[in-house]
Symmetry: D2
Subunit: 116 residues, 4 copies
């Protein structure tokens, strides 16, 4: 169980104590989310048939966890700012996806969840 509201309270206080709320518009937080997602992608960018990232290597794992944390932290802040429930919107989207991708028709086809 993730205590979303407690995490958001800590992050809100953290920003408030540093006078950072002025920088935390939804747009800026979304930009930061993209930057951090890019840093996570960087760790995997050169994967090839002969060169697969070893996610169990301790140093690599630590870097991956660090970037996942950054993405999640900004996502929590965005959700807090916009008063969005992460679980709520995820469940709504999963229902939509279940309709959009009927099991039989989608089997083994590389689609994206949001593909039209």
């Amino acid at each position: 169980m993730i205590d979303e509201q407690e995490l958001q309270r800590i992050l809100r206080d953290f920003a408030n104590n540093r006078d950072w709320e002025q920088f935390h518009s939804p747009r800026n937080l979304v930009s930061a989310l993209n930057v951090e997602a890019g840093e996570l992608l960087e760790l995997f960018q050169w994967e090839s048939a002969n060169h697969v990232v070893d996610v169990n290597d301790l140093e690599t794992r630590h870097k991956i966890e660090d970037e996942i944390a950054d993405v999640f932290i900004y996502l929590l802040r965005i959700a807090d700012k916009l008063d969005v429930s992460l679980e709520g919107v995820a469940i709504a989207k999963m229902k939509k996806n279940a309709d959009k991708y009927p099991i039989e028709k989608s089997k083994g086809k590389a689609v994206k969840y949001t593909e039209l």
Copy 2:
């Protein structure tokens, strides 16, 4: 409270039922996370002094929630695949940030959480 494990179980079943696990390598899920973060950014890309996105407009709000959901869904899948606790890594990172950005020194300065 977010039931991370239950959401991950549903997403895992969703992928399994459609034979999508073959596409859900960590790297591919991280790529998808970036694509979805970009779609969220798209909604805010033309903001200016005279043109601020109205996050309370119902249609806009629906689009934003949809993209937030996609980002969260892929983040949950990545965490599941890599056996990472989202709450755990977020708390570890928040502690690191508290050390890195002492309140007095950081006040009112636009920094990023992960800035060196």
Copy 3:
């Protein structure tokens, strides 16, 4: 005038001399392009009404130029790998955009070039 082919020849030799062609699949180069675009975004992520990035500050300018260079370098490599003319596809797209966004209807509206 940009000597696209000469730049691409240098970059190709650079990769060949280091045995990096094995990492430079179209997909990997596109990933790297995204990572570099994210690093460019990072420089602007906290802009606000009261905090605008001074693009004439020498240190900032140097960082911006560095990231623009990275984005362009990967774009040149992608175009080389896929045998795409950057100028050719840009002109084709600009014609499409001229049809899609008639002057009178588009005046002063925040749209994106590729909006449907």
Copy 4:
């Protein structure tokens, strides 16, 4: 040869005629660049050992060219706005990279151009 200045003149006129200059701050153009880079990545996101994107398939190729065009168009606009020569910064960066990655030491190692 790419006539950078002529392309930039056309894009500038295009924006001016539609009153879009108000939206084309460096930051907004950089955001748009990220969005388009993400759309290019989307075309490759599900690649796997068994599922490689066929870049010679005509429909796929058309989509790829379209997204490459968007990335290049925004890069040209950014360079125009900031008075940066794309060729100039690319050559400067390539010299830096040649120093940073000596041929013998870099052979066959997956690094990124900008890695420290």
